[in-house]
Amino acid sequence: MDLLDKIFVAPFRDMVDLPDILVQTLWEGFVAGILYALIALGFVLIYRSSRIFNFAQGVMVVFASLAMIWFNQKGIPAWIALALALVVMLVMAIAIERIVLRPLIGQPDIILFMATIGITLVLIGIGEWWFGGENQAMITDKLGVPGEQWDLRILGGRVSIRQQDVAAVIVAILLVAGLLVFLNRSQMGRAIRALSDDAQAALSVGISLHQIWVLVWFLAGVIALVTGIAWGARVDITFNLQVIAYKALPVLMLGGLDSISGAIVGGLLIGILEKLFEIYWAQPIMGGGSETWFAFVLALIVLLFRPQGLFGEKIIERV
């Protein structure tokens, strides 16, 4: 009986009795969700244009952030360090395209996926060696983002909103908007969309596969850097952070591997539901720690009923 109460009654009662905590939880979940969505966005971009499931997206987040921090520590002003980090990501995109993607053209998806796992390991090895293995603090303050928080006294309690989180959300929204405009309005963007629909056809109208791939991987690198800056506002940057990228996977399962809007909605859903479950169910009943697995189990359950995810197209197999 006590257990039934804890599952079906107490959480909702707590939500109503302590609305400030509910709002805080929702906000935290929302911010986390935005960040998951950002990582998922990087995946989606690469998947749409090359059907490659880029396992290295997470490590790219860390690598880009550490590059920026490293430049800054050498005395370079923050915004220029950011630009230099973008250059690093461009070089990385070119290197990956030449060394890994070109030899593997035409190989089955699973091979390409495993290749990105190989890339991940190499990047971790190189990254830890070059940047050192210690934690680094993100230089959000140097980028001009204010570091205080607003304490709103509402709903009979207190809800704390960190300005860096707000900045992260705003930047994410701008990034997504910019990306959508780019994909839909620009020449290059059209080429990317053409490639993702039908690579052969795109090639036959003169779109350069290699250029587009470099561009797409670079864009993914840009997204990775932005994600790193946003995440870095809350935690230190270390290579362990790349496991956060695993969280993007259930997001992709829900939102579909090739849908930008799916990534966003999926990210927000996962972020919010995960936080709610942890605070109101996992901590009282199970001692917490559910955030490692909740998103995956949730995505799994959804997939059992809709194998194509919430947004994906129904998979029709032709013989």
Binding site: S290, F296, L303
Partner: protein, 358 residues
């Protein structure tokens, strides 16, 4: 000249379908078995057993399990580490509840628990495919590791959830745990691995093996020749998880001394996956080759530089190790996606033709 196969004619289907229809292959296996069962125990050092031979055996076994699921049946799984954990915790719990149970029996029984959980988490494969399935297996991976830590009954109420060091004996002699002689533990692992490998070879060469490969290559066509995909996949998960569970039990009590829950986390899953890929998906022998390579690299990074009066600090060794493994995966995927097993196949072809060029 060495591998002259001309003149080795088969006059019955039984002979043609033998495991090693070519005599030289059988001799080669004989040599390997002699080295494993006789030469190593006589000549290997403590260090060699602990750092090289035992890990290779356990990893190769786990990779064999994964290979059956991913290489033969085509169901990608990223949860290998967690299933090793299930086998390990099951073994720990069985021997806690039944202290009189023979250790080997406990190990072989633990596999069944792993198989059962494997089937449960394999059910989604009936509806979900490809990457989505891989992500679903991550659900098992993360959930199970959390469970190992939080379910106090399972981990015998240790504070961190770890499996504690135990000693097991049989007929009055220690066979597992820190008090057991390393050579004995080596033989134990070797016998178990040999037995399971033989069973796996039989299965993959028979009807079930063909059914798995059909499921992997074109499941629609498989259905149309009458194969029940559900059974094919569930059997794959069951057999695979059984083997992985046994490997997990050996990992904790024979190759190691107890383990923390996070020993079974994602890095272990990936290590086993790399061994399966580098060794060759769809091969039984490849897993051993892959394990040897994966275990040898860190050992070499440790032991070779001092020969040149260089020392690499341990963290630098770690970084180089990662880069090398990552580079190897890329190398194999680009040059020979079918892994080391396929390399061996090429070498063998050359030997058969030698000394002629073609």
């Amino acid at each position: 000249m060495l591998y002259r196969i001309a003149g080795q004619y088969k006059t019955s289907y039984t002979a043609d379908q033998a495991l090693f229809p070519v005599r030289q292959d059988a001799i080669l296996l004989g040599i390997i078995l002699v080295i494993a069962y006789v030469v190593f125990p006589l000549t290997a050092s403590e260090y060699a057993f602990k750092a090289l031979l035992l890990p290779v055996l356990v990893y190769a076994l786990a990779a064999l399990g994964l290979n059956i699921l991913t290489g033969y049946a085509g169901q990608l799984s990223l949860g290998t580490g967690a299933f090793m954990g299930v086998g390990a915790y099951a073994c720990s719990k069985l021997t806690t509840i039944f202290p009189e149970m023979n250790f080997i029996v406990a190990v072989l029984l633990s596999g069944f628990f792993s198989a059962g959980i494997g089937v449960v988490f394999g059910i989604p494969s009936l509806r979900i495919k490809g990457f989505y399935l891989a992500i679903a297996t991550l659900a098992a991976q993360f959930f199970l590791v959390w469970l190992f830590e939080k379910w106090h009954w399972l981990n015998n109420y240790t504070s961190s959830g770890a499996i504690e060091t135990r000693n097991f004996s049989m007929f009055g002699y220690y066979i597992a745990g820190p008090l057991a002689p390393t050579v004995v533990k080596y033989y134990l692992a070797l016998v178990v691995v040999t037995l399971v490998t033989w069973l796996a070879l039989n299965l993959t060469r028979g009807n079930l093996g063909r059914i798995w490969k059909a499921t992997r290559d074109m499941d629609i066509a498989a259905e149309l020749i009458g194969i029940r995909l559900m059974w094919s996949k569930l059997y794959a998960f069951a057999v695979s998880s059984y083997i992985i569970g046994v490997a997990g039990a050996l990992f904790v009590f024979v190759a190691g001394d107890g383990a923390e829950p996070n020993a079974f986390d994602i890095p272990l899953s990936f290590t086993i996956l790399f061994i399966a890929i580098i060794g060759g998906l769809g091969s039984v022998m490849g897993n051993f080759l892959g394990a040897i390579l994966i275990v040898a690299i860190p050992a070499m990074l440790n032991d070779i530089p001092p020969l040149f009066n260089l020392t690499l600090e341990s963290d630098v060794q770690e970084y180089i190790n990662q880069i090398l493994v990552g580079a190897m995966i890329l190398f194999f995927l680009i040059i020979e996606p079918l892994g080391l097993a396929s390399f061996w196949g090429l070498i063998r072809e050359k030997l058969i033709i030698w000394p002629f060029p073609h």
